[in-house]
């Protein structure tokens, strides 16, 4: 029987399925960062256990680090301690760690693919829910908690129950001006934030195939916001082209042999899934979230909901979200004004995102009502490449701040955060209450839409933008 990619990867990684228990799944790659790992390493120390496969484990610091001058020490003593704890733990365990001064440093979900550490057919975990990003390369990748981080460190395996599978098929060609971010927000709007709970999603269809690898990463990244732990895209020629020449590719096999191995993971024609969700790319508009959950989203020509028209749970949630967001009912999204902008994160901090955003910014100026417009590359490598292309200069001239790489204002653990009452156009992944700073209000959008909003001061349909080529 024809198999889908999830079934293939699952079967190749089951070490053992004890009767009546979850399967023991072998983990090929374990990414570690400073926030969710200290208690796991401490657990190993307390039980006298060792890291089983340090060579399959890679660490980076990204959540806590400053995006300003890195030559000065981290000011916050707790952040400093956490970053230093990671370094120490990695040194003791023999795990390679890309510290914040390392040229390979960056957000864990940006550098994994960038370094060629993430490969098709792998099982990948990290103590971070956006690990689903790596599924864009055809890997089964998902977030885990700290106890599970400890479990993987100690055993190189994870206990898992086999998930149900969902095919999300995006048919047709994506209209001009639309991006991967709009696709995934539209999908979450359709299935809801718990629509994927218990499932692994495979994204298929013409519009997904047409995306670049970076666009595919954006889609898989936000799979978790639809409730599914993992999202995958079957590897194809674009995947292989993307991986060519990456630093950490296996050295003991020819390129052709590697590609042949990777190809074999793709879903087979005629394979089946437990459920199917279909969207037409032509129906998708540039998306803007209006609420406090990524599923509270609509097109740029849409309006905030009218609470009395909703029912039950949705009604309660919408009323509470509009109150927090300080937005009226039935208000056009294009009339919502902002005072901050954040471009970056593991969702939209890659080179293609910065290029697309710079095209919008070129020859324009940030609107006088904007108090801060941050551009934070996803990795040191992305930053360097962008600078080589003059992207930083375009942003600076337009009045944006150009920062060092890191998670930054996506979750605001470092010094980049919103103040109470701030309203931010953000390319990140979560618009939860207080996510970007207590009392801050987040609207999730694509990089182009974020920059357009920073220039006009309100959400603006990118399809009507005046590009200065």
């Amino acid at each position: 029987m024809a198999k889908n990619i999830y079934e293939k990867i699952w079967e190749a990684h089951v070490v053992h399925e004890p009767a009546g228990e979850d399967a023991i799944l072998y983990i090929d790659r374990h990414y570690v960062h400073e926030v969710t790992s200290p208690q796991a390493f401490e657990g190993l120390r307390l039980t006298g256990r060792k890291v089983r496969r340090p060579e399959l484990t890679f660490a980076t610091m990204d959540h806590n680090i400053p995006t300003t001058d890195r030559s000065v020490p981290i000011r916050d003593p707790l952040s400093k301690q956490q970053v230093e704890t990671l370094k120490q733990n990695c040194a003791e365990a023999g795990v390679e760690c890309f510290d914040m001064h390392d040229r390979r440093n960056g957000i864990v979900h940006v550098i994994g693919p960038e370094l060629g550490l993430t490969l098709p057919g792998m099982t990948i975990v990290c103590g971070d829910s956006h690990t689903s990003t790596h599924g864009a390369l055809g890997a089964l990748a998902h977030g885990i908690g700290t106890s599970e981080v400890e479990h993987v460190l100690a055993t190189q395996t994870l206990l898992q129950k086999k998930s149900k599978t969902m095919e999300v098929r995006v048919n047709g060609a994506l209209p001009v001006g639309l991006t991967a971010k709009d696709i995934i927000l539209a999908i979450i709007g359709k299935i809801g934030t718990a629509g994927g709970t218990g499932y692994v999603i495979e994204f298929t269809g013409e519009a997904i195939r047409a995306l670049s690898m970076e666009g595919r990463m954006t889609v898989c990244n936000m799979t978790i916001e639809g409730g599914a732990r993992a999202g995958l895209i079957s590897p194809d020629e674009k995947t292989f082209e993307y991986l060519k020449g990456r630093a950490y590719l296996p050295k003991d096999k020819s390129w052709d042999a590697l590609v042949a191995g990777w190809k074999a993971w793709a879903s087979e024609p005629g394979c089946t899934y437990d459920t199917l969700v279909e969207l037409n790319a032509a129906d998708i508009e540039p998306q803007v979230t209006w609420g406090t959950s990524p599923g509270m989203v609509t097109g740029i020509s849409g309006k905030t909901p009218v609470v009395s028209e909703l029912q039950g749970v949705e009604k309660l949630a919408a009323a509470s979200a509009l109150k927090y967001m300080d937005l009226g009912e039935g208000m056009p999204l294009s009339e919502v004004t902002i005072n901050k902008m954040f471009l970056g994160s593991c969702t939209n901090g890659r080179l293609e995102d910065l290029r697309a955003a710079a095209k919008v910014a070129k020859g324009h100026k940030v609107h006088p009502s904007i108090q801060q417009a941050l551009v934070v590359p996803g990795s040191h490598e992305v930053k360097q490449q962008a600078e080589a292309e003059g992207i930083d200069a375009i942003f600076r001239e337009a009045g944006f701040e150009w920062r060092e790489a890191g998670c930054s204002m996506c979750l605001a653990m470092n010094d980049d955060f919103l103040l109470p009452g701030d309203r931010c156009a953000s390319t990140s992944n979560r618009n939860f209450e207080g996510r970007q700073g207590k009392g801050g209000r987040t609207h999730l959008v694509s990089p182009a839409m974020a920059v357009a909003a920073a220039i006009t001061g309100h959400f603006t349909d990118i399809r009507t933008w005046n590009f200065n080529d």
Partner: protein
């Protein structure tokens, strides 16, 4: 890991759907490197006024009648968002050993069991009934009997709940999951030899 067997305690209601882990414990508290001491940080942005100290009188959990609660009654998709295990740690440190909700986010659900906590799933209408009963009676308590897989109401009526047998066993015995997995260490080694220690994809 702490054993979970029987629990009788005060029930506190949390009136919101899609409660994300950013609400359960905001990011500024994730900089600590400990597993304990998170009790004062639970639901921080909801629990306190803007000064971060004064209890918010509008947040239901702050009402004196819910003091000492050990069972949290919640709504759909509880624990969505970030994988931070600080969320179950904060709930546990505060005193909640059991959560009752119609549904949970996957990662949060697993994280609970790894901390000896019991997240119970019940149909929405039954959860709604419990919300009504909790609010109608100050000091409302439930008794959770994990062995028998039932919740006993004050009037003696009981509600059965489903749970994967493996999860049940782990909680009842307080088993350390790493220790359990290492019973199969020889199979992990055999698997690795079969692949020559190379990760798939190599």
């Amino acid at each position: 890991m702490q054993v979970f067997n029987k629990l009788k305690g005060i029930v506190a209601p949390l009136e919101a759907v899609n409660v994300d882990t950013d609400q359960i414990i905001p990011k500024q508290f994730l900089k600590r490197i400990e597993r304990t001491g998170y009790e004062s940080m639970l639901f921080y942005d909801w629990r306190y006024l803007n000064d971060g100290k004064t209890l918010n009188p509008d947040f239901e959990l702050n009402a004196p009648r819910y003091e000492g609660a050990s069972i949290l009654l919640a709504k759909d998709n509880f624990g969505c968002g970030s994988s931070r295990e600080h969320a179950p740690w904060a709930l546990d440190n505060y005193g909640f050993r059991c959560i009752i909700a119609p549904s949970y986010a996957d990662i949060f659900y697993n994280n609970c069991f790894n901390n000896g906590m019991l997240p119970i799933m019940l149909p929405s209408d039954i959860v709604e009934e419990l919300f009504d009963e909790v609010r109608a009676h100050a000091g409302y308590q439930l008794e959770i009997d994990l062995e028998a897989q039932v919740i006993r109401k004050p009037g003696g009526e009981s509600i059965a709940f489903d749970l994967a047998p493996f999860f049940r066993e782990r909680l009842l015995n307080g088993w350390d999951q790493i220790g359990l997995t290492l019973r199969h260490e020889a199979m992990i080694s055999a698997y690795e030899s079969g692949r020559g220690f190379q990760p798939v994809g190599s």
